[in-house]
């Protein structure tokens, strides 16, 4: 043991700063797990606040508003995942049909730009183009379609969130899938051509089956995050008019817990989300490991 420490001490020293900061900022907040069973009072603090058992959980589950945010979260996440994956895969396949490498890269570079723009700025841009007199509605009017209230109609709002997210992020998936497609052995295609397969058949029988494991892997990993419907995006786009369809778990926690000072409810909802997420992420990593031999570390 001592001998080992003598040999390994530089490693421990190097790790120390990161470990201390991670302990403070990632481990200490886990006392929320205890707070969820207390009637937390900032005056009494965390040691003296009275215990209340499962009362907080009973309280949040008796609130229809909370159940509604779970539904909204799952709805938005699910369709983001489905349309996000589909559009990335389809776009990567289409880009792959372009023979010039330069053009391919150029297009890929362009669609990847929105990914790096913050949701605050993106929300500003979306307000510009989606408002009643914005450019999208002007174009719709030219096509004799009634103007759409993208941001302020409760029934349209979730789709605005889903589509704008897919639009902002599909470039990332495209980069991943295109990288996977480019690494396919060209001999496979050559022998398919000899067998008389056209481009369509090559795509169907070679490209798609080879990238399928990566699609499955990305989807499984994304499923672990299904309770994150995108706080930054929703918070910057929504307003009280669309709470009924647009409020998600994270925005609910922030509004109720911090803006209205209801620490108990906020913490309990947060812990509920953390525990479910933890199970989902562990499960997704387990499945990813089984299916695609993927390891995080």
């Amino acid at each position: 043991m001592i001998k080992r420490l003598k040999k390994d001490w530089p490693f421990h020293v190097l790790l120390l700063p990161g470990i201390i900061l991670t302990f403070i900022f990632s481990y200490l907040p886990m006392y929320g797990l205890i707070m969820a069973f207390q009637d937390y009072n900032p005056g009494l603090g965390f040691f003296k606040s009275p215990w209340v058992g499962f009362d907080n959980f009973r309280l949040i589950f008796s609130q229809p508003q909370f159940l509604n945010t779970i539904y909204n979260t799952l709805f938005i996440s699910f369709f983001k995942l489905v349309f996000g994956t589909l559009s990335s895969v389809v776009f990567a396949l289409l880009l792959n049909e372009i023979s010039s490498n330069f053009t391919k890269r150029l297009f890929q570079t362009i669609v990847y730009v929105p990914n790096f723009i913050s949701w605050v700025i993106m929300a500003g841009i979306l307000y510009n183009i989606l408002s009643a007199d914005g450019i999208v509605n002007i174009m719709l009017e030219a096509l004799h379609i009634h103007p759409v209230q993208f941001i302020s109609s409760p029934s349209v709002f979730p789709w605005t969130v889903i589509i704008s997210d897919v639009w902002k992020t599909f470039g990332f998936g495209t980069v991943v899938y295109l990288a996977a497609i480019t690494s396919i052995d060209p001999q496979l295609y050559e022998s398919a051509i000899i067998d008389g397969a056209g481009r369509w058949k090559q795509t169907l029988y070679i490209t798609i089956p080879t990238i399928a494991p990566i699609i499955v892997l990305m989807t499984v990993l994304a499923l672990g995050n299904i309770l994150n419907a995108g706080f930054d995006q929703v918070y910057n786009l929504y307003s009280p008019v669309v709470y009924s369809k647009g409020d998600i778990i994270d925005t609910f926690v922030y509004r109720l817990g911090l803006q209205n000072g209801k620490y108990n409810i906020g913490t309990t909802v947060g812990i509920f989300k953390s525990v479910v997420s933890c199970i989902l992420i562990s499960l997704s990593l387990f499945v990813a490991n089984k299916v695609a031999n993927y390891k995080v570390f």
């Binding site: 390994d8 530089p10 490693f11 190097l14 790790l15 700063p17 990161g18 470990i19 900061l21 991670t22 900022f25 990632s26 200490l28 907040p29 886990m30 006392y31 929320g32 797990l33 707070m35 289409l94 880009l95 049909e97 570079t109 362009i110 730009v113 790096f116 723009i117 913050s118 605050v120 700025i121 929300a123 500003g124 841009i125 510009n128 183009i129 450019i135 002007i138 639009w167 980069v175 991943v176 051509i193 481009r199 930054d232 307003s239 994270d250 926690v253 817990g257 911090l258 620490y263 906020g266 913490t267 909802v269 947060g270 812990i271 989300k273 953390s274 933890c278 992420i281 995080v296 570390f297």
Partner: protein
């Protein structure tokens, strides 16, 4: 692939058209905002500005520069990025190096790795985090913007995989010459790892630059808002104004002035990201491919 049937030619035409349309959809909203920022509010309120400025004016930009709040917030963001990225890089390098060792070389490696992986799986939630940072007395200081985000585990894992993919001979040669681990890490490995450091460093920069929420959580003094948090308050004000404004001419006019002014500030907030984008693009695929492969 070389000779093409008629069907393939038709497909190619439609494929190009479709791809170009998608690309346009990614660029035009930005162009529209840019055009609005350079236009006179008169034309913007008439709904006449598309992708080319009408009644070209730099008024909105002058307004943004003269408006002390914008520059102040920009400055906070720059300081935050310099501080945040340096701390991130230091933490990532010092953590990734020991963790890139095998368990034979460093027995406690898996213990530390588990310590970090747990943080990826479970968190205490927003409110305990908020209470903690308040209790530490970090509220309203620049440290609240950098310390809680000091150890990004995902980037650390990418850097670790980069280190694992280096030829082991490099280190062995250092060992033979009598260099200790610190010398090996800082004088032998780091120079070779420049592309990897650029990758994770750029990610850290984009993260710090784009993050508005930490600022909104921990800064109660608007003077100390980083840029994105400040821009967020502009949006909120705009939303409130939209809700209140009726047909009153003056509110409408000020609203439109605000729209061009806001567009200018949004665009200025975007400039640093667009400036590093070519590098991001260059390093991203390598980061993705090399960093995610475990050997």
């Amino acid at each position: 692939m070389k000779y093409k049937t008629k069907g393939q030619k038709i497909f190619n035409v439609f494929n190009y058209i479709f791809i170009i349309l998608v690309c346009l959809s990614c660029v035009l909203p930005l162009l529209n905002t840019l055009a609005v920022s350079f236009s006179s509010p008169r034309f913007v309120s008439a709904g006449k500005v598309y992708f080319i400025p009408k009644g070209f004016t730099l008024m909105s930009y002058e307004f943004a520069i003269e408006n002390g709040k914008f520059l102040q917030a920009f400055k906070v963001s720059v300081i935050r990025c310099i501080l945040g990225v340096s701390i991130n890089l230091f933490m990532m390098v010092t953590t990734a190096y020991p963790l890139s060792k095998t368990t034979q070389r460093f027995a406690a490696r898996n213990f530390y790795m588990t310590f970090y992986v747990i943080t990826m799986l479970f968190g205490g939630g927003l409110i305990p985090y908020y209470i903690l940072v308040t209790d530490l007395g970090l509220m309203n200081t620049i440290w609240a913007l950098v310390l809680p985000l000091s150890c990004p585990v995902y980037s650390m894992v990418i850097l670790m995989n980069f280190m694992r993919n280096l030829p082991p001979e490099m280190e062995e040669a250092g060992m033979i010459d009598g260099a200790g681990h610190f010398r090996i890490l800082f004088s032998i490995l780091l120079p070779v790892l420049k592309p990897a450091l650029a990758t994770v460093g750029l990610f850290a920069f984009v993260y710090h630059w784009n993050d508005w929420f930490t600022g909104a959580l921990f800064m109660h003094d608007p003077q100390k808002y980083p840029l994105q948090t400040y821009l967020q308050t502009l949006l909120t004000n705009f939303r409130d104004m939209l809700r209140q404004s009726g047909s009153d001419y003056y509110t409408l006019l000020s609203r439109m002035n605000e729209q061009t002014g806001r567009a200018a500030q949004l665009f200025l907030g975007l400039v640093p990201i667009l400036a590093v984008y070519p590098f991001l693009q260059k390093y991203f695929t390598t980061g993705l491919v090399v960093g995610s492969v475990k050997q």
